[in-house]
């Protein structure tokens, strides 16, 4: 170990990204490639009655226009294909913006122009687009990925009845879209019965599985390539229909085809955060000990699938409450399938952390103190002890840095001239996954190492952290280690979602690097030509690419020397399954509200986190600022508007679907407890990336209450709600 781990080393992929050299899915040059463009349905529910492609086909450059009439049958894959149906297999329309034709032409411009000429007629049926219009149809959906939608602990009904103090409120959040800056792109290249896809995918191994099922093709015949990803936030975790349709079309026309979604198409083609309503009932003692939580949520589902991506984990597990009843209901609407979106628990957590603030106000207890009184020192649902948990430190560190002790709890009491100042806080928490991951590490004859894994760089710093850990365990300089990701030709590794990458991949990386170091040391000490010949292997240390005898640094060999004499590469593999778990933190927010114009600004954010061991402070801090900014977007602006009559998205663009810009964000101060979690095989690091931001919407709402005395329970907190 040479102390690379933990350091904020600069990104190893930084240079490629600042020079424009990094190749994203739509940047690969493929000889002979055609361009596809999707025609999407303009009604939300009904049947296609007529489809006229003649004008499109007559346009110069157009090679084919495929529809349900000529597309070969595809099987409907299961998870992580979430739609429940494959479009263009029949005449049925399940949502607005569903593919009904796929135009292929020599250039993207020709394909798009031709797509505009495809004439489609429908027999339209009246759609239902909003939860409010179908709440009486709410039902408890069946298991999704083996997970139930109802959880019971103790007797929440009776405990609520008996509680000295109760809070009961409704909280709601609208449909939201991920909007990664990179649009989805898929390029299909067939060679006989083998398929290569250049894909914007958060999980290439998962994409391979979905494609294999849809085409009834062995996985060995499919290769997915995705070396760089322009963000995903869940939108590129599942495999979506454009990938399958485009591959089918490429096979039909016998040439490679690329399809790239337009920004507008990204509002119906690749999932979204569903609209939610949540009724929360808290019961507590006068001292503020929670005795009951009843959490009943209702999510938008579709008529073709029933996935609920709500993760009410925080109501179930965050606080030490003996009686909990969680029910995740759904309503079927005529909308596209929802899916995972960064920090899925935010919808649930926003309600819980707001309700706790309401309880604190009701009881006259400080909001931080209320959370400390309900702190769980063992998992409240399973009773299992935590392998490590430092949430209490997070409250203390962030509160002190924020200056929370100076807060006057009376709403409206803190002012700066005409401006009302509000301070609010919330707990942050995220449940991360762990996925069986494998890596291969080669130390080549030049003494340099290459690490290969079929995970991907979504932007969080995977190339960098893997390189850091491998270099550290090998005892090589960073520049001697190359990490190759984003190709299913490499060993299967984790999805870049659910904050699983570091937690899943770092264990096998460090194992492989240790094994490679030992293997090379063994070569050296057994080799009469090595200065280390005969030294016991355990007495050899590796540093900066050199191998030394401990205590006699004059006896020195190197990876380069050992491998050159060996004459062939040393190849090792690493394989691990880590356990999933939780990361925690606390966020404190200051807002400034000007009542004359009803303008609100988030002026200050202070956070502290317990993500286990921090492997790279720079990339970890990057996740904090990014996550907090997402929390600000969730709280103040993000809102996909759906027309209730047509069930169409009315703001499918970035000028009316607002995301935070540089002028909206404050600077974010952040701290890490930085203590290894002994339960994690990833050198004590837990999954972390989606933890920051989970508490931000509630913290902002709580700060607004503190500034104005007005309690908002429906995001986004737009100006009309503050007037």
């Amino acid at each position: 170990m040479t102390g690379l781990v933990g350091r904020g080393v600069a990104r190893v992929d930084g240079r490629a990204k600042v020079t424009g050299a990094a190749r994203y899915a739509a940047d690969h040059e493929i000889p002979g490639m055609l361009h596809g463009h999707l025609v999407l349905s303009t009604v939300a529910r009904g049947e296609i009655t007529e489809l006229d492609t003649s004008a499109a086909l007559a346009l110069p450059g157009v090679v084919a226009v495929l529809t349900h009439r000529d597309l070969p049958p595809l099987r409907v894959p299961s998870f992580p294909y979430l739609k429940g149906f494959v479009p263009m297999q029949d005449t049925r329309v399940h949502h607005s913006g569903q593919p009904v034709a796929h135009v292929v032409a020599e250039t993207p411009e020709q394909a798009r122009e031709a797509a505009n000429l495809v004439r489609v007629r429908y027999r339209a049926e009246r759609p239902t687009a909003h939860l409010a219009h179908a709440l009486d149809e709410a039902f408890l959906p069946p298991l999704f990925r083996d997970e139930p939608n109802e959880f019971v602990r103790g007797d929440a009904g009776a405990a609520l009845e008996a509680a000295a103090v109760r809070v009961e409120q409704d909280y709601s959040s609208p449909m939201m879209h991920h909007n990664p800056i990179e649009p989805h792109s898929s390029t299909a290249v067939w060679d006989g019965n083998s398929l290569t896809l250049y894909e914007s995918a958060q999980g290439i191994v998962f994409t391979r599985r979905v494609v294999s099922i849809a085409f009834d093709l062995p996985e060995a015949n499919i290769r997915i390539i995705s070396p760089y990803l322009g963000g995903g936030f869940g939108a590129k975790g599942p495999t979506w229909s454009h990938t399958l349709l485009n591959a089918a079309v490429a096979r039909e026309v016998g040439r490679p085809v690329r399809v790239t979604l337009t920004r507008a198409q990204m509002y119906t083609m690749n999932g979204h955060r569903a609209e939610y309503r949540r009724n929360l009932r808290l019961g507590a003692t006068r001292e503020g000990r929670l005795t009951a939580i009843v959490d009943t949520s209702t999510a938008q589902l579709t008529r073709t699938d029933h996935g609920v991506y709500n993760t009410s984990e925080s109501t179930l597990r965050l606080y030490d409450c003996p009686n909990v009843h969680v029910r995740q209901l759904g309503v079927r609407l005529d909308l596209p399938s929802s899916s995972y979106m960064r920090s899925p628990e935010t919808t649930a957590h926003f309600g819980l952390e707001t309700a706790l603030d309401e309880l604190a106000h009701e009881l006259g207890v400080d909001p931080v103190e209320l959370r400390i009184r309900n702190h769980a020192s063992a998992d409240p649902h399973s009773g299992e002890p935590y392998s490590s948990k430092h949430l209490l430190d997070c409250y203390r560190i962030a509160a002190r840095a924020f200056g929370w002790a100076r807060r006057d709890p009376r709403p409206g009491s803190m002012r700066d001239g005409n401006v009302r100042v509000g301070w609010g806080m919330a707990t942050e928490t995220h449940t991360f996954s762990a996925i069986q991951s494998n890596v291969e590490l080669t130390v080549d004859v030049d003494g340099r190492a290459t690490l290969r894994a079929a995970t991907q760089e979504i932007g969080t710093g995977t190339y960098t952290v893997i390189t850091q850990v491998a270099a550290d365990e090998l005892g090589m300089p960073l520049e001697h280690v190359t990490t190759l990701l984003g190709d299913t030709a490499y060993p299967d590794a984790a999805l870049s979602a659910a904050s699983a990458t570091v937690a899943s991949v770092i264990g096998p990386v460090s194992q492989a690097a240790q094994d490679a170091r030992k293997a090379v040391i063994a070569l050296a000490v057994a080799d009469p030509r090595s200065p280390l010949h005969g030294v016991p292997a355990e007495d050899v240390v590796a540093e900066r690419g050199y191998l030394f005898a401990r205590g006699d640094r004059g006896r020195r060999d190197s990876y380069r020397g050992a491998l050159a004499r060996h004459g062939r590469p040393v190849i090792v593999t690493g394989s691990r399954l880590n356990s999933s778990g939780h990361s925690y933190g606390a966020v404190f927010v200051e807002v400034r509200f000007d009542p004359r114009l009803a303008t609100l600004r988030v002026s200050r954010v202070v956070t502290a986190y317990d993500p286990g061991r921090v492997l790279n402070h720079r990339t970890a801090h990057g996740q904090v600022i990014g996550g907090v900014t997402w929390g600000i977007g969730f709280a103040l602006m993000e809102h996909t508007m759906v027309d209730p009559h047509t069930a169409r998205v009315v703001n499918p663009n970035l000028s009316t679907y607002l995301v935070p810009v540089s002028a909206d964000t404050p600077s974010v101060e952040s701290f890490f407890v930085d203590r290894p979690d002994k339960g994690s095989t990833a050198l004590g690091a837990r999954g972390f990336g989606e933890t920051p931001g989970t508490g931000v919407p509630a913290a902002i709402g709580n700060a607004i209450f503190h500034a104005t005395g007005r309690r908002l329970r429906d995001v986004p907190f737009t100006r009309d709600k503050l007037l």
């Binding site: 600042v18 990664p180 800056i181 920004r263 710093g461 990057g622 996550g627 540089s662």
Partner: protein, 158 residues
């Protein structure tokens, strides 16, 4: 039609350009320069920002014909040769890059800001870059990068 543009110091010609094509399209699809990114095609995100003569523009909003006879500089041509421009260096050094998709556009926008107004205040930097969306970084490190590059520039002058 034929379009001739000086791109990153080199005279480049594209033939059979359809009048509706954007400069971004010509750069990416015809001239093999995929650095500038296509992310909205309607001037909302800034991912396609390039210099047209000395002005940063959304290349998706510029018709290819409008660039006829003018000079264009993309992220690929910002630094001469193999080196990095100080703005590019600053983006790497401060951690202003995550997924990197907004980066080519932001670097051109930041490059122009640093040269036009190296003394810009934080509020001015935030305002100046507000047309370049980034979904990953939360912008703070991008501000650090601009300040770092500006400081370096001021140092060169002194």
């Amino acid at each position: 039609m034929r379009v001739t543009i000086e791109v990153n110091g080199e005279r480049r010609t594209a033939d059979d350009v359809w009048p509706g094509e954007s400069l971004l399209y010509v750069l990416r699809e015809r001239l093999g320069l995929p650095g500038a990114k296509n992310a909205c095609e309607q001037g909302e995100c800034g991912s396609c920002t390039v210099y047209l003569d000395d002005t940063p523009v959304c290349a998706c909003l510029v018709a290819a014909g409008q660039a006829e006879g003018r000079s264009v500089r993309t992220v690929e041509g910002l630094a001469g040769g193999d080196g990095l421009d100080p703005v590019q260096e600053a983006f790497v050094a401060t951690g202003a890059v995550q997924c990197g998709f907004c980066t080519p556009g932001l670097i051109v926008a930041a490059h122009e800001l640093v040269h036009r107004d190296p003394g810009a205040t934080d509020a001015e930097i935030r305002e100046a870059l507000a047309g370049n969306l980034c979904r990953c970084t939360g912008y703070e490190k991008i501000l650090d990068a601009v300040r770092l590059a500006a400081a370096k520039k001021a140092g060169e002058r002194a």
